[in-house]
């Protein structure tokens, strides 16, 4: 016996409306591939280029709690803003972010990262300096690599000192794609 799709989605909507979920997620199609996105009551907590929920749910449960459900409706605003971004109609996101568990230099770096504007790039060293520690370029690289909310926290805009792309959690092809979309690469 399978659960009819309309019954299943009615339950998922009701669960999201109930306020009982620690986190809701959905898979959002994009031109850099399907993205798994998750929101909590604090805001957007995760974007993953790996859309397989089983790879993400355990980590999400450790962060937010075990009451996690796929609930497309809860991701409506996130989906809308990402769609607009990929359509070239949005250059900044108006989404609250759930950055719980992050502190100190990591949080300072992510706050500075959020200020790097659409279409611009900065180097790892520059971002380190803006976060108060010009010698910490390598540590900034680590923070970028562990960024839980890529695209919205634009780690794709951070490049090597001579402009080379260096690396990206989602693969260099995606980094290049996002920078071209923003007009930062020709």
């Amino acid at each position: 016996m399978t659960v009819p799709a309309d019954l299943d989605s009615r339950f998922r909507d009701a669960a999201a409306r109930s306020g009982l979920l620690d986190a809701s997620y959905d898979v959002i199609e994009s031109e850099v591939g399907p993205l798994l996105a998750a929101v909590t009551d604090r805001g957007l907590a995760r974007i993953s280029f790996d859309p397989e929920p089983e790879h993400e749910l355990e980590a999400l449960a450790r962060l937010a709690g075990p009451r996690i459900l796929r609930s497309p409706r809860a991701l409506d605003e996130t989906r809308r803003e990402l769609d607009d971004y990929f359509a070239g109609k949005r250059t900044a996101f108006d989404l609250d972010l759930d950055l719980r568990g992050l502190e100190g230099f990591t949080l300072d770096v992510l706050r500075e990262l959020a200020k790097v504007p659409y279409g611009a790039t900065a180097t790892y060293g520059e971002l380190a300096a803006r976060a108060g520690n010009p010698r910490a370029a390598r540590a900034v690289g680590m923070v970028m690599n562990r960024n839980r909310i890529p695209i919205v926290l634009p780690c794709h805009r951070i490049v090597g000192s001579s402009g080379q792309l260096v690396g990206y959690g989602g693969g260099l092809e995606r980094k290049e794609h996002l920078l071209r979309l923003e007009g930062a690469l020709l």
Binding site: M1, L7, R10, L20, A61, P66
Partner: protein, 154 residues
């Protein structure tokens, strides 16, 4: 230390048990009424999920909640109810069978609490969620049931 099953993400729990829960509710209530009951069952489970201390016997737990939801639906409709949840079993005899002949004269709530506690070995927080009552009330129902049984046996 005894390894205890961790609590799975609710999505995993829901995906695993939703078809069986719907099957039970359809048998009890028919297709139409089963839909509301399905939603109510998983919302009750979700409400109690944050209080679970481990992920053991979640199947028996959610089927018990479903059976209680079906009983409530029958009651609201003024229909006669079976008080003891029918819990399909995977193999062998269901654990409550040995208790059934002892407990079938107990008041319904005490019977459900005794069977869930001693037949299924569920914790009181799980029993409370299944009976839609407090943990204290679940504990009291189970111990009242056991006292009543003792008086009868001795």
């Amino acid at each position: 230390m005894v390894a205890v099953a961790p609590i799975p993400p609710f999505e995993t729990f829901y995906a695993e048990h939703a078809p069986e829960v719907l099957g039970l509710l359809r048998r009890r209530l028919g297709s139409d009424r089963a839909e509301d009951a399905f939603q109510e069952t998983f919302l009750r489970a979700l409400r109690a999920y944050g209080r679970l201390r481990h992920g053991e016997r979640l199947r028996a737990w959610v089927l018990t909640i479903a059976a209680r939801v079906a009983i409530d639906a029958h009651r609201r409709a003024g229909e006669p109810t079976e008080e003891l949840p029918e819990i399909p079993h995977l193999d062998g005899r269901p654990p409550y069978e040995e208790l059934a002949f002892l407990t079938d004269t107990l008041p319904p709530k005490e019977r459900a609490a005794v069977v869930l506690r001693y037949g299924y070995d569920l914790d009181y927080d799980q029993i409370a969620a299944a009976l839609d009552s407090s943990q204290d009330a679940a504990r009291q129902a189970a111990s009242a049931g056991v006292r009543r049984l003792r008086r009868r046996v001795t």
